[in-house]
């Protein structure tokens, strides 16, 4: 990257900067003329007598002449403002474009960092650098050249004017500038240094906060909160000190400027006064000089401000770019190069005396030499510190060796572009990171190397895309379209989304993930508009379930939804809506505040009953939960009222005793009314909902549906026995009812019943497909680590790699599952290369060839049978477990 912000600006925006400069200079004549015109209007039009005047070959009387000049003045004002407006817009645009370029450049550098560098930098520092730290640079870029040119020019003009009036006075006017010019940069230098320290201190604080968040368990477990607070306070103190000193110095500079600026008139009065008295200078000239000097101050101030801003910008730029230039960055061409068509890896992987040393001379890999065929299956075993994981990463070209050579089919691994290493090889590590998105997105992630099928744009969106593309290119960003079709079906041996899905399903079977996916599918939702045939078949599953529920043995397990019946296993809210809320309008927490719901309740005369019920529930909650600690888990599990709200409700009940339910304010009523909506009669067994109440809630249900305004219709999806409910999960759609509380093992028995029906109707594939849309959460947080590991294996297998490297990537699974999946994997990779870094030495039994590592060296190599005897390191590792 360019070493300084000015080089960056010149390199990427010289033409635009010149354009801004031209605009600025172009506005000068208008500016000058608009300053001059008022004088002409006063002297020539208002105070003059010699009319008519001739202008452009036309004669003007006084009034028309005045109007003409005023008109010209108006036009000048408009032209001037127009110039200012376009300069501002253009500066802003240029600033944003350069900022975009800078951010893009920084981000792309992260993608090229050597992997080991990530041990030294934390995301908590990198994120603010790219997002907030560079932000002010955008503003600076736009004015970097035009501003000093403009105000510098103005200064020169005014100086010239003063000198023309009187050279001595001119000298007096500028006599202090050299002093300022000498002193201020010196003072500023120290401020710059402090600013640098401040940036670093803030960054350290960011890292500190990040560490606290990640290590919070340790802090609690070791009672070190006070220590952490003290450290944090120390950092804050450091920032405070730096900032305080910066303020002092900045304001001193300001003070000095102000003082010197005020000092100059001293010379004018003394020297100028003397000259006037002596008769060497006219009085008028002195006044003119004084007036000109007043005009001198604002541009000079602007220049000084600019000087400080450019110092800030320079430091920020250097400080940021320094962090993004580690040694040994991956060469850009390795990422951009496209592969040869039908490129495959073949031949042997050969390591010759491969070494890896860390900064501090620690040898992680210490002279490793081997030759593996690309059709071999190899297990690498060793203790934790043997370097086996690092060796796997070296082979996957994720780390570059510091010495020796690694070749594959005779080609140096270091020269292979990522389009070869990332497609023909597959690496699965212990982390198995998942990106936020669906299971499907994550499975197909490894197939998205380049845009293959252009996105389709219609008349409306095509120009938008064209402009976006143009802007991207102007800012030095990639023009590749994120909305294009990136998934490389052919690489997975598929010819489209459907056959790719089939491929993925087969592989999910291989890692025994299908049951989990089935569960995810049942919990997922389906858009019946998109997949009407599946929705139709799920409805027949609903019928089949309800057929089964006629059996008296099973009837008690599920209470079906029935428009004419109150459902004791559903909440009061669900009974009232008789549907699934969509969005926040009818969410159970907002229901009491919904004006429409309140209107319906008033209409059927339920409000006061529900308020009374709310009062009873609140009373019970206070009775039951007041004695518990606020953090008690019962609050989450059982209470209708959160711990911190209990005192509030306590006070509320007090007010009711005093003033009755009628005396409550609107907030209190809302609060109380929200409680009974959560009641489930069969679960809470509170006796409050008797048959009469049920009947009245049914009336409310009918009223709710009958008068629902058009605007609220999208906010609820009604239960309808003959219709698929897009807002509810697959399971809820199949059941069309509630699993009954109070029946032993009801959830398990219902689950088995659903599974039976799903299998009978051949719907399992469809459920699994919906499971593919399951959102995995940020970093895959909604999946267990075991599930993530399985998905990571499938993600890699889908690429059909020539060499697969599995680095302790199944560790979260129990031994039996691990062995089964490993066997499946070995069968799947038959004829292709497989390198397995084994967490347990005994798993090496499954492999044709075993490599044993210790302290960064290969100590044993051979078949399992050869090595499995008394006295070998392998034997030792195996007996250690």
């Amino acid at each position: 990257m360019e070493p300084s912000i000015f080089k960056f600006i010149l390199r990427h925006s010289l033409r635009q900067q010149i354009a801004i400069l031209c605009l600025t200079v172009g506005s000068f004549p208008f500016l000058y003329f608009s300053l001059d015109l008022p004088k002409i209007i006063i002297n020539d039009a208002i105070n003059a007598k010699d009319f008519p005047k001739a202008l452009l070959g036309m004669e003007f009387e006084q009034i028309p002449y005045l109007l003409l000049l005023s008109g010209i003045f108006l036009i000048l004002v408009i032209v001037k403002s127009g110039f200012r407006f376009s300069i501002n817009i253009y500066q802003g645009l240029l600033g944003e474009r350069m900022l975009r370029r800078l951010r893009y450049e920084l981000y792309s550098r992260i993608l090229r960092f050597p992997l080991l560098h990530f041990r030294r930098v934390s995301p908590n520092e990198m994120i603010p650098m790219i997002t907030s730290e560079v932000e002010p640079l955008g503003g600076f870029v736009g004015e970097a050249i035009a501003l000093p040119a403009f105000y510098g020019g103005t200064l020169v003009v005014i100086f010239a004017f003063v000198f023309i009036q009187d050279p001595i006075l001119g000298l007096a006017a500028i006599s202090l500038y050299p002093i300022q010019g000498y002193l201020i940069p010196r003072l500023q230098r120290r401020v710059n240094e402090l600013a640098k320290q401040r940036v670093q201190a803030v960054r350290e604080t960011a890292r500190n906060i990040g560490e606290t968040v990640s290590g919070v368990t340790e802090i609690h477990a070791h009672d070190t909160s006070q220590y952490e607070l003290a450290k944090f306070a120390g950092r804050m103190g450091r920032i405070y000190e730096i900032r305080y000193e910066i303020y002092q110095r900045k304001f001193f500079i300001k003070f000095l400027n102000g003082f010197l600026a005020q000092l100059t008139p001293f010379f004018f009065y003394s020297i100028g006064g003397y000259l006037v008295i002596e008769g060497d200078l006219s009085f008028g000239a002195l006044v003119a000089v004084l007036a000109a000097y007043k005009d001198l101050t604002p541009p000079w101030k602007e220049l000084l401000k600019y000087y400080q801003r450019q110092a800030d910008a320079r430091i920020k730029y250097e400080q940021v770019t320094m962090q993004f230039a580690p040694a040994d960055m991956l060469d850009e061409s390795l990422q951009t190069a496209d592969p040869e068509p039908d490129e495959r890896l073949s031949g042997d992987i050969v390591a010759t005396n491969v070494r890896l040393e860390e900064d501090d001379q620690v040898k992680i890999i210490d002279g490793v030499t081997f030759t593996f065929g690309l059709d071999e299956h190899i297990a690498i075993v060793g203790s934790g510190a043997s370097g086996k994981e690092t060796l796997a990463m070296l082979i996957a070209r994720l780390i570059a060796p510091t010495g020796g050579r690694l070749t594959i089919g005779g080609r140096d691994l270091a020269d292979l572009p990522e389009s070869v290493t990332g497609r023909r090889m597959a690496y699965v590590g212990p982390g198995s990171y998942m990106f936020s998105g669906s299971v499907r997105d994550n499975l197909f992630y490894g197939l998205k190397h380049r845009p293959l099928r252009p996105a389709v744009y219609d008349e409306e969106t095509a120009p938008v895309r064209a402009r976006a593309l143009q802007d991207a290119v102007l800012a030095g960003n990639t023009g590749l379209d994120p909305r294009a079709g990136w998934t490389d079906y052919a690489a997975a041996g598929a010819d489209g989304p459907e056959s790719l899905r089939v491929q993925a399903m087969g592989l999910l079977d291989l890692v025994e993930m299908d049951d989990t996916l089935y569960e995810m599918g049942l919990r997922g939702t389906l858009d019946p508009g998109e997949r009407p045939e599946i929705a139709e078949r799920l409805l027949s599953a609903r019928e089949a379930i309800h057929e089964r529920l006629r059996d008296p043995e099973l009837a008690g397990l599920v209470e079906p939804f029935d428009e004419a019946k109150y459902n004791d296993n559903a909440t009061v809210a669900e009974n009232l809506l008789f549907g699934t809320p969509v969005g926040a309008d009818f969410d159970i927490d907002n229901l009491a505040e919904s004006p429409y719901v309140r209107k319906v309740l008033d209409q059927v005369g339920l409000t006061s009953d529900l308020l009374e019920m709310g009062r009873q529930v609140a009373g019970l909650m206070i009775e039951l939960f007041s004695s518990l600690d606020p953090g008690h888990e019962f609050f989450d599990q059982f209470s209708f009222i959160e711990a911190e709200d209990l005192p509030e409700f306590h006070a509320l009940l007090g007010r009711i005793t005093k003033e009755g339910l009628e005396g409550l304010g609107a907030d209190d009523r809302n609060r109380l009314l929200s409680l009974p909506f959560k009641l489930i009669p069969a679960r809470h067994r509170l006796d409050q909902i008797d048959d009469d109440m049920r009947a009245r809630l049914l009336t409310a249900r009918r009223a709710f549906a009958a008068e629902l305004p058009e605007a609220l219709k999208p906010s609820v999806e009604f239960f309808d026995a003959g219709k698929y409910n897009a807002a509810a999960s697959l399971q809820d759609n199949i059941l069309f009812g509630k699993v009954a509380y109070g029946q032993a093992l009801s959830a398990e028995r219902v689950g088995a019943m659903i599974a039976e029906v799903v299998d009978e109707l051949g719907l399992r594939g469809e459920v699994l497909e919906v499971g593919l849309d399951y959102e995995v959460g940020i970093g895959g947080a909604r999946l267990g680590i075991g599930q993530r590991q399985r998905l990571a294996i499938v993600r890699s297998l889908l690429k059909r790699p020539d060499l697969m490297i599995v680095n302790e990537a199944l560790t979260a699974l129990d031994d039996a599952v691990q062995t089964r999946i490993l066997r499946n994997l070995i069968a799947e990779m038959k004829g292709r290369g497989l390198i397995f870094v084994s967490p347990r030495a005994s798993l090496a039994r499954e492999f044709g060839r075993v490599v044993v590592m210790e302290s960064g060296r290969i100590v044993e190599q051979g078949t399992f049978a050869e090595l499995d005897r008394e006295g070998t390191r392998l034997h030792e590792l195996m007996s250690a477990g």
Binding site: L624, S627, F634, F638, H684, R685, Y741, G742, Q743, A744
Partner: protein, 152 residues
């Protein structure tokens, strides 16, 4: 059956006889009420124990394994607590409990049970007393059985 009825049932259990009504109410409110059909198992011998059951109505057999067949050694009925041993001392279920009639029970999860004991020492003492009574009974039975053996 409603919460107040369950509360009444709980109060009739000796172990809870002296526990404050509010505490019992909390116990009733926070535990699940389950209905078992005749022949259904509350739990099986050898299972990991995660909850105790208080029988509110119905009757159950206590079955143990004797040379491969299940033998009923006792009956459990209304107001009795079963399954507390497995959760108190962390051992697998020592017997199978099978409903002989339709049976309703309150299922008290292990952590809830412990929490209540920890938070309401009164109840802990009651539990101890009940266990001591049972131990006393078992010791007596053992003494009698030994005496019978010696007599022979």
């Amino acid at each position: 059956m409603s919460l107040s009825e369950e509360l009444e049932a709980l109060r009739n259990i000796p172990m809870f006889a002296n526990v404050e009504p509010t505490q019992l109410k909390l116990l009733a409110f926070t535990s699940q009420r389950l209905t078992f059909g005749a022949g259904q198992d509350l739990f099986r011998r050898g299972d990991v124990g995660d909850s105790a059951y208080i029988i509110i109505s119905g009757e159950a057999d206590v079955l143990v394994d004797k040379e491969g067949t299940e033998v009923a050694v006792a009956k459990a009925g209304k107001n009795e607590i079963v399954g507390e041993i497995a959760i108190l001392c962390n051992v697998p279920r020592t017997a199978t409990i099978r409903a002989v009639t339709e049976l309703t029970a309150l299922k008290i999860p292990k952590d809830l049970f412990f929490r209540l004991i920890a938070e309401f020492p009164d109840m802990g003492v009651q539990v101890m007393a009940e266990l001591a009574r049972r131990l006393h009974r078992t010791t007596q039975q053992l003494t009698e059985a030994l005496a019978k053996l010696e007599d022979r």
